[in-house]
């Protein structure tokens, strides 16, 4: 069903009829600038189809945003300036790479924290006192053991 969500996004939120992303007439002549524009477009969210970058999106508004991104790059804006231009109008929502700030700190460092917590938990586990034999997992009964051996003999052959 997950494709469905996408499917319906394209069908409803962008129901203007498809126009393929980055039309040829939008492209910048200078390949280095165009490469920058492309990379930047992939970091900017299409605000109409809520889960795609403007580079992936068919929505006309996304196409207009691509044009504006390219215009500003052609006019000499740096990547940060282009992003700031859009953020000051659409908020941080428009950035697919969320900014690092106090309330996104956990988002960015969470993965490392998870690893550290996992390692710490494992270390604590390894240092636990040895388990008295009486509490250990019950041994197989003689009958079970016999069956196990028999089956393993058959399984291995």
């Amino acid at each position: 069903m997950k494709r469905r969500a996408f499917a319906i996004c394209v069908a409803s939120a962008c129901a203007f009829g498809p126009a393929l992303a980055v039309n040829p007439d939008e492209k910048l002549a200078d390949p280095t600038l165009e490469a920058r524009a492309l990379a930047l477009s992939r970091e900017i969210r299409c605000v109409v189809c809520q889960n795609q970058s403007i580079d992936d999106s068919n929505a006309p508004l996304a196409a207009d945003m691509r044009v504006i991104v390219r215009e500003r790059i052609a006019a000499g804006d740096g990547d940060a300036e282009v992003k700031n231009f859009l953020v000051s109008r659409y908020g941080n929502f428009v950035l697919l790479r969320p900014p690092m700030r106090a309330d996104t700190w956990f988002l960015w460092f969470g993965p490392a924290l998870f690893l550290i917590a996992g390692a710490a938990g494992f270390a604590a586990y390894l240092r636990r006192p040895a388990i008295p034999a009486s509490q250990a997992v019950p041994e197989l009964s003689a009958d079970e053991r016999r069956r196990l051996e028999e089956l393993e003999r058959r399984g291995g052959a």
Binding site: G91, N92, I131
Partner: protein, 657 residues
């Protein structure tokens, strides 16, 4: 009439599920054999009624009974029969019914095939399955009735969303659900074990095949979704880190951890608590995924039709199941016997490392998926978390996982030395090191070089397991061949699974490093060139399908003056919904995908988007290979061992060996 019978069936199944959730549990408590055995017939009965209801809905779709609301909203008389049929689950209500049917199927499977399970364990498992079933059947009956009637019935239906009219719909959701719902077995076994207060190796032998089967289905489901997105959406992407994709990926990651951990319980009777916890978490994540898709909490415009009552109901199911199980865990798990210890450098140690990284990875996907919601709830801002975030956090996490993947299987249980393992891995180390140096020089990109070296490392590491098991080089060739033929399924499964992961990694790296694309306006006879492939637009003609009209473009692709492929791409218009879709033209072989998508027309020319994707097929070959590895592992006769060891005090006299 059939819809009313279907609706009645749902109510009956619900009633049976309610009894199933209580009777066997009470029976197990009172050691009442009759009540415990009642669970079997109830589970089979529940399946029969849900299956009947599902059949009635399929029938309504196939005969285009537009007096049924979901049929009227999601089908059309001109739709091909396959899509009428698959359309049964191409909507919220029908897909929930499919979900409930698969859940009942797993319950019935325990009832029918679990003859050798300890009676009390089986009764408790069936009870827990019954509770989940009752919750979802109630959800269907009270918030999502698939048999709602329309009066008067429209003469024509609104048609299934054209983007879903694809063979992918017939297979992707059922496999995905078999995976999602299959993990309910691990959940039920975990909860039952907590109630029993006892876990032994027989328990692990039971849980592992169920978890493995669910994992295989989920792997196939995710892979098919990715393939479908790749060719249907026309953007040449294979994974978007969309919340709904993440919803299926989280249970996969935790389920992978569960499989490996169950291995430790089975062999070493240790890490029992952790395995139980993973069993609970995997299914909880499946439920969170269901909540995510159907509540509109994150992607309301895109997901299923919204009804706040549904979101609340699924949240209640999710919290009831997961918090109930986790409360039980907090209460009972400390009393469960802890198993024997092991050294950090050991097979167990490597599997724990695998688990830590997989859990951190699942946690990362969870953070990325839900952080926008958190920011929305605690502040007044909205943020987005998209692919760039996952690329910079998830990818580095995979590095230690992939490194340890080839080392783990070479380590001995309990205690081992790294130098000893390194000696066994001499060849993979040399090959991966060589690949790293070569690729860094050739590619000038450290990241891609590391990725490719890891792919080599995994494939070589998997082959090293094979070489070790057949004692290649140490004994005569004939002896090795004999050993190879008698390798147990579990060993073959590891080898295939790990090697396939390497293949998948190679595909991912190649796609991110070497994929090339171009967009041009092309008229007939005009061409564009990408990485030596020349795409020529031959002609554009009009074509008509059963329920659509299309512009069909034929492309010829040449390379070095030789024909490489003929591609056909269509832009379809479905008049019933007024929707246009793009059918990409793809020529796929293991080494390169040629991909072209026809765009809109302007002044007699068309926008054409073309891609050359080296090794793209490796991604899906790798994913399906992993699923195949799991399936081969399932054939291992040792899995059937658990079924034969009886732990309940009253052995049945009727059983002969």
């Amino acid at each position: 009439m059939a819809p009313e019978l279907g609706q009645m069936s749902i109510m009956l199944a619900l009633a049976l599920a309610v009894v199933q959730s209580i009777a066997p549990l009470v029976g197990a408590m009172r050691r009442d054999l009759v009540l415990m055995r009642l669970g079997d017939s109830l589970a089979v009965g529940q399946l029969s009624f849900v299956a009947f209801a599902f059949g009635a809905l399929c029938y309504a779709f196939l005969i285009s009974d537009f007096s049924v609301r979901v049929v009227a909203e999601n089908s059309h008389t001109l739709q091909p029969a396959l899509y009428k049929f698959a359309g049964t689950w191409g909507n919220h209500e029908g897909s929930m019914l499919l979900w409930a049917m698969i859940l009942a199927l797993f319950g019935a499977a325990v009832a029918l095939f679990g003859k050798d399970l300890p009676t009390t364990l089986k009764a408790r498992v069936l009870s827990v399955q019954g509770m989940i079933g009752a919750a979802f059947l109630a959800f269907i009956a009270f918030t999502s009735n698939p048999f709602d009637r329309l009066a008067p019935a429209p003469s024509e239906g609104a048609e299934l969303n054209p983007l879903l009219q694809d063979p992918g719909l017939a297979f992707h959701p059922p496999f995905l659900y078999l995976g999602y719902v299959g993990f309910s077995m691990a959940f039920s076994f975990s909860v039952a074990a907590l109630i029993e207060g006892r876990v032994d190796s027989a328990w692990a032998r039971w849980v592992r095949p169920w978890a493995l089967a669910a994992w295989c289905f989920l792997t196939i489901g995710i892979a098919m979704g990715s393939i479908w997105a790749y060719y249907e959406l026309g953007w040449g992407g294979w994974w978007y880190w969309d919340p709904v994709e993440n919803a299926s990926f989280m249970p996969w990651l935790v389920g992978t951890a569960l499989l490996h951990c169950a291995l430790v319980v089975e062999r070493r009777q240790t890490l029992v608590n952790w395995t139980i916890l993973l069993g609970i978490l995997t299914f909880s994540l499946s439920l969170i995924g269901t909540f995510l898709v159907r509540s509109g909490v994150l992607t309301s415009v895109h997901a299923f039709a919204l009804d706040p009552a549904r979101g609340v109901f699924i949240l209640a199911i999710l919290l009831g199941a997961s918090m109930g199980a986790l409360a039980l865990y907090a209460w009972r798990a400390p009393a469960l016997a802890a198993g024997p210890t092991f050294a950090p450098v050991s097979r167990e140690g490597a599997l724990v490392l695998n688990n830590i990284v997989l859990m951190a990875a699942a946690g990362t996907v969870f953070l990325g998926t839900f952080y926008p919601l958190l920011i929305d709830v605690i502040g007044d801002d909205k943020i987005s978390v998209g692919p760039p975030y996952f690329q910079s956090t998830f990818a580095p996490l995979m590095l230690p996982l992939l490194l340890v993947m080839s080392v783990g299987p070479m380590l001995k249980w309990r205690k081992d030395q790294l130098p000893a393992a390194a000696r066994k891995l001499r060849t993979p180390i040399i090959l991966a090191g060589g690949a790293l140096i070569l690729a860094s020089v050739a590619l000038k990109s450290v990241l891609s070089a590391v990725g490719l070296a890891l792919a080599v490392w995994l494939v070589a590491g998997a082959l090293a397991i094979l070489a070790q098991r057949i004692r290649a080089g140490a004994v005569a060739f004939g002896e090795s061949a004999r050993l190879a033929l008698s390798l147990p399924g579990a060993t073959l499964g590891i080898i295939l699974g790990h090697a396939s992961m390497g293949v998948c990694v190679a595909g991912i790296v190649a796609m991110s490093a070497w994929a090339k694309e171009d967009v041009q306006m092309l008229g007939p006879g005009e061409k564009l060139e990408i990485s030596g492939y020349v795409f020529t637009l031959e002609d554009v003609s009009l074509a008509a399908g059963p329920n659509y009209e299309a512009e069909r473009a034929t492309f010829r692709v040449m390379r070095g003056g030789r024909p490489a492929a003929e591609l056909v791409s269509e832009r379809r218009y479905y008049p019933a919904r007024g929707v246009e879709t793009t059918e990409a033209g793809i020529r796929s072989n293991p080494f390169v995908n040629l991909y072209v998508a026809l765009g809109e027309a302007r002044d007699g020319r068309h926008v054409v988007r073309a891609y050359v994707h080296p090794l793209a097929a490796f991604i899906w070959i790798g994913a399906l290979g992993m699923a195949a590895g799991g399936a081969i592992s399932l054939t291992d006769r040792r899995f059937r061992l658990g079924a034969r060891i009886r732990l309940d005090p009253a052995p049945s006299p009727a059983r002969a060996a």
